[in-house]
Amino acid sequence: MTAPPALHLSGRATIDGAPIFGPISIDAPPGEWTCLLGPSGVGKSTVLRLLAGLGDEVAFDGKVAAGDGAPLGGRVALMAQADLLMPWLDVTANVTLGARLRGMAPQRGRASEVLGRVGLADHAAKRPHALSGGQRQRAALARTLIEDRPVVLLDEPFSALDARSRALMQDLAAEVLAGRTVLHVTHDAAEAARLGHNVLLMTSGGVSCVTSPAAPTPRLYDAPETLGFQGRLLRLLMEAR
């Protein structure tokens, strides 16, 4: 993996003339986990799509850049709320999909190492339909990891999981993605309070940075400072228009 760059996005976006967000400015420091927290419909996912080089449907007037000035293309991995596993491939083949899509030989050794890391070593030969929701997201995380990109964009990847699986996935993701520049879109204040080195609050009024507790991430879900931070984030969400 190359050195993780900072991420920057500023400007305004519309789809078919309807405003989506902006003008806003978002900065994610290099090698840190930044949560973009906000209610549904404020354009968080659009921010992520623009950073991923997607969003052809969006008319964007502004700037998307990496801190080191080099293009972002090829340095970004994306993990969405849907696991996007191919039902006709087994877990190993799903995890090594990227290499095959680029016309390269799949790295099976690396795949089993990564699957071991996310706790799916015993499920490598299974098809996605034979996995639970949490296991499917682990497979998606393994697929993200094997790409070994310095920038990882997460679009509410844990929001469909039950509370226990979600907390476990948060711990796992924080562990395996440490050292990369992560921008994590979420509408869950508890999740942002646990995972964000930095938390950006995005509302229809714009984006503001909320100071995070000093405790290392992933913060304990029942630690007073995590709960206090979660409460503060929720209050800010409630007070925003």
Binding site: A77, L101, E147
Partner: protein, 243 residues
């Protein structure tokens, strides 16, 4: 099991109604023979019927195989190339405005009275349903998968082969299921227009000689062949692509 009982029951009731209709209305056997006579003929003429059924089955299977292969390739070409789409799609749609039946005499003229004019008919009749079902499925790949491929810097050809084609196989399967029912129609029409073998030919021959029982026997064999083909295609499609 319940389904088998159900189907057998419906078949028995239909046969009874058929026999009752013939007996009560006192219909002459050259208008509508009873099922008893048809089944006796089916048994006594089994060698003759089997000989012609084999020819029809060969025509249908060849037409189905070639038509499915051609439809598969065409749909991929259309999905992969916007240029092919803009040129070929209007032609494809226009070609459907020409009734395939009307082409049968021309195909017989070009390809002769043998096997290949019937294969061509079966092929033509299934080509559009297969192409259209598969092409539609290829154009409806879930956008999330395509975006994932883009972020992974996938080569377009690889995205097509590794994601769009496998994702569209259920669509190809529904085209094939339709094709299994349509292909025999094409072969039979080809045989009616000009042939010296096949169930369609046998039916015309029997009709001309007022052997209506033989005609019905051939018709029953044709229907059974079509049902078996559909069932076989269905089993293969389920195994491979539906889960």
């Amino acid at each position: 099991m319940r389904r088998t009982v159900h189907i057998t029951g419906v078949a028995l009731v239909s046969l009874l109604a058929w026999q009752a209709g013939v007996t009560l209305a006192d219909l002459p056997r050259f208008i509508l023979p009873g099922p008893d006579l048809v089944f006796v003929t089916l048994w006594t003429s089994r060698a003759l019927i089997a000989e012609h059924a084999l020819v029809t089955a060969a025509e249908v299977l060849l037409g189905l195989g070639l038509g499915a292969a051609l439809g598969f390739a065409s749909a991929i070409l259309l999905a992969a190339s916007p240029l092919a789409r803009s040129v070929l799609r209007p032609m494809l749609v226009f070609s459907q405005a020409v009734p395939v039946f009307a082409l049968a005499p021309i195909l017989t003229l070009w390809l002769g009275y043998g096997l290949w004019s019937k294969v061509a008919m079966a092929l033509l009749i299934i080509y559009f349903p297969v192409t259209s079902a598969f092409f539609d499925a290829l154009m409806r790949t879930p956008p999330g998968w395509l975006e994932l491929a883009r972020v992974m810097n996938a080569l377009p050809g690889r995205t097509l082969w590794r994601i769009r084609v496998p994702a569209a196989m259920p669509g190809f399967a529904s085209g094939l299921r339709l094709a299994a029912v349509y292909a025999p129609i094409g072969a039979i029409i080809g045989e009616w227009v000009g042939a010296s073998q096949g169930l369609g030919y046998l039916m015309l021959l029997a009709n001309g000689r007022a052997k209506i029982d033989l005609m019905f026997a051939a018709l029953i064999v044709l229907a059974v062949l079509t049902l078996l083909l559909h069932a076989a295609v269905d089993v293969v499609c389920r195994r491979l692509w539906d889960g």
